[in-house]
Subunit: 152 residues, 2 copies
């Protein structure tokens, strides 16, 4: 027998809110699931995986459009891989930038969170770390709109 999940079970298993799951369905990011005779949604294992993917990708600030691209990429037939590679490269650049900054921020936050003497907060360098332009590998000098600050 194939396992089936209600929308609430999907929500509990992935951490995505019920209303958000329905929203994703409306946006076409997850396929419309089967329904009971009474009209309630019933999901299978594949839908669960797709939703888990969506959740993690969103947590990493990927927009719904980019996520749709990534999903298409993962399911792409082997024929036209050039566009898939282009998407991968684009996402890779964004990921690398975030990784660099996040690693620095992590270090600084850890120092602050674990400092033996709480009184040291006055030496906090969080602002400097996040404000340091040397971390931005040319991103600022690109034409208008090259940096998508609208986030998710």
């Amino acid at each position: 027998m194939m396992k089936e999940y209600s929308i609430g079970q999907m929500s509990r298993r992935t951490g995505v809110k019920v209303t958000t799951i329905r929203y994703y369905e409306g946006r076409g990011l997850i396929p419309s699931p089967a329904r009971t005779t009474g009209g309630q949604r019933r999901y299978d294992e594949a839908a669960l995986e797709r939703l888990a993917f969506l959740r993690h990708a969103r947590e990493l600030c990927f927009g719904l459009g980019d996520i749709a691209d990534l999903m298409a990429l993962a399911e792409a037939p082997s024929e036209d891989c050039a566009p898939a590679h282009k998407i991968a490269r684009k996402q890779l650049a964004a990921v690398d930038r975030r990784l660099t900054i996040l690693a620095q921020l992590r270090e600084e936050l850890a120092r602050m969170a674990n400092a033996d003497d709480p009184g040291q907060a006055r030496e906090c360098r969080v602002i400097e770390v996040l404000g340091d332009h040397r971390l931005c590998i040319g991103a600022h000098d690109l034409p208008d709109g090259s940096l998508d600050l609208s986030g998710g």
Copy 2:
């Protein structure tokens, strides 16, 4: 003589759009700058640093509220450091989770972007990597709303 910047120069130097800078001012995230007699904004070096910080923090998905907290933390007098530590710890947890997932995703994207044989795309594991729940250190089992999916 102290250097002064117009809002457009601020925008070019930080990559934050002019309209967004005004929006941040309206939200109180950056102080209202001095004005020319004609009413145009003139910023100093400190404002530039603050805005650069804001930009980087936003790129890392921190909400404006959290950013305000971080800024206050960085400027906090040494007296009440306990709340500052709490904020730092909370942000640290979020940063660590993102770092873990991002690192895995980076590896997978790099493999896809650089694969010698583009035909290998069919073996793409991006979905599995991002869908892997073992990466979620207990985050899913926490009470409702423990994961802030609303992003920025």
